[in-house]
Amino acid sequence: MAPRIGVVVFPGTNCEHDARVALESLGASAELVWHGSSDLSEFDAVVLPGGFAHGDYLRPGAIARFSPVIGAVEAFAAAGGPVVGICNGFQVLCEAGLLPGALQKNRGLRFLCQNVTLEVANDTSVLTRGVAVGTRLVIPINHFEGNYTCDAETLQRLQEEDRIVVRYAENPNGSVDSIAGVSNEAGNVVGLMPHPERATDVLLGSTDGITLLEAFIASAATKV
């Protein structure tokens, strides 16, 4: 059986189809889930895709965290289910307190839309399990608020607990320690600014996103 992956859609989400198509092209079964849903227990994994949930009003993710589905994401994550937030989904997970830190405006105040080179920094999270540390991946970013920040104590904890999942080879947005993605303590909730679903076909310029999405689908398949 192909693992079933729920792709959460908020008003203003716009990458849900990219995520669904990419996951299905890799053998998963992906379904869109409206943000009003309060039960995700039927799924093997959950994706919070990119976009502008609730118009990004106030701050990206600030309103989305009050959507009913967030309670379900919390329950799903607490039970060990694999969750990944991509771009706006990462911002939502931070605002919801499922991941530490915050994403502020890019250094230089420019919207960035470009391929970047990432370096895998962790080989145990649901997005990088089995991917060798140091692996370089070319994956696009597409954001204004991608400048990851947290206090010094949190940063030290992330480093010591091996929770930095991917780093930028060349820091494009001012993120502390070049962080492109982090995980929760258990490693089953990951957020990252780059869009692996947009690097899954040679026509898109890179297929390096497949490495991460395959690891995520494998994590979904082994969910207990």
């Binding site: 106030l58 701050r59 600030a62 931070c94 605002e95 830190g101 915050a102 502020q104 405006k105 890019n106 250094r107 230089g108 105040l109 920040t149 947290c150 206090d151 001012g174």
Partner: protein
């Protein structure tokens, strides 16, 4: 027991000291073009005004503080200051 009265609330949200504020820095760099060279420490932020029903000013402040800290500001990067004033008009009685 006490009738509720309406209070005006002003919440000002600013990036915390030490958090880079590229917007404030950009505004500051534009000021010499307007003829001002002596302006420094520009910080950009947001202001929110709303009205709140409460028993007294203390309760109004308490509730507004929760709104500020749990929604209007992200405490990881922002600080909020809350000011409460008795609203004009219908507070009466």
């Amino acid at each position: 027991m006490g009738d509720k009265a309406m209070f005006g609330v002003l919440v000002e949200v600013q990036l915390r000291p030490g958090i880079a504020d590229p917007q404030g820095a950009t505004i500051q760099r534009a000021l010499p073009a307007l003829g001002f060279d002596g302006i420094s420490a520009v910080r950009a932020g947001k202001a929110f005004r709303f009205e709140i029903d409460a028993l007294d000013e203390e309760e109004a402040l308490l509730h507004a503080r929760v709104v500020a800290d749990r929604l209007l500001a992200n405490p990881v990067i922002e600080d909020a200051t809350v000011t409460v004033t008795p609203a004009n008009g219908e507070s009466g009685a």
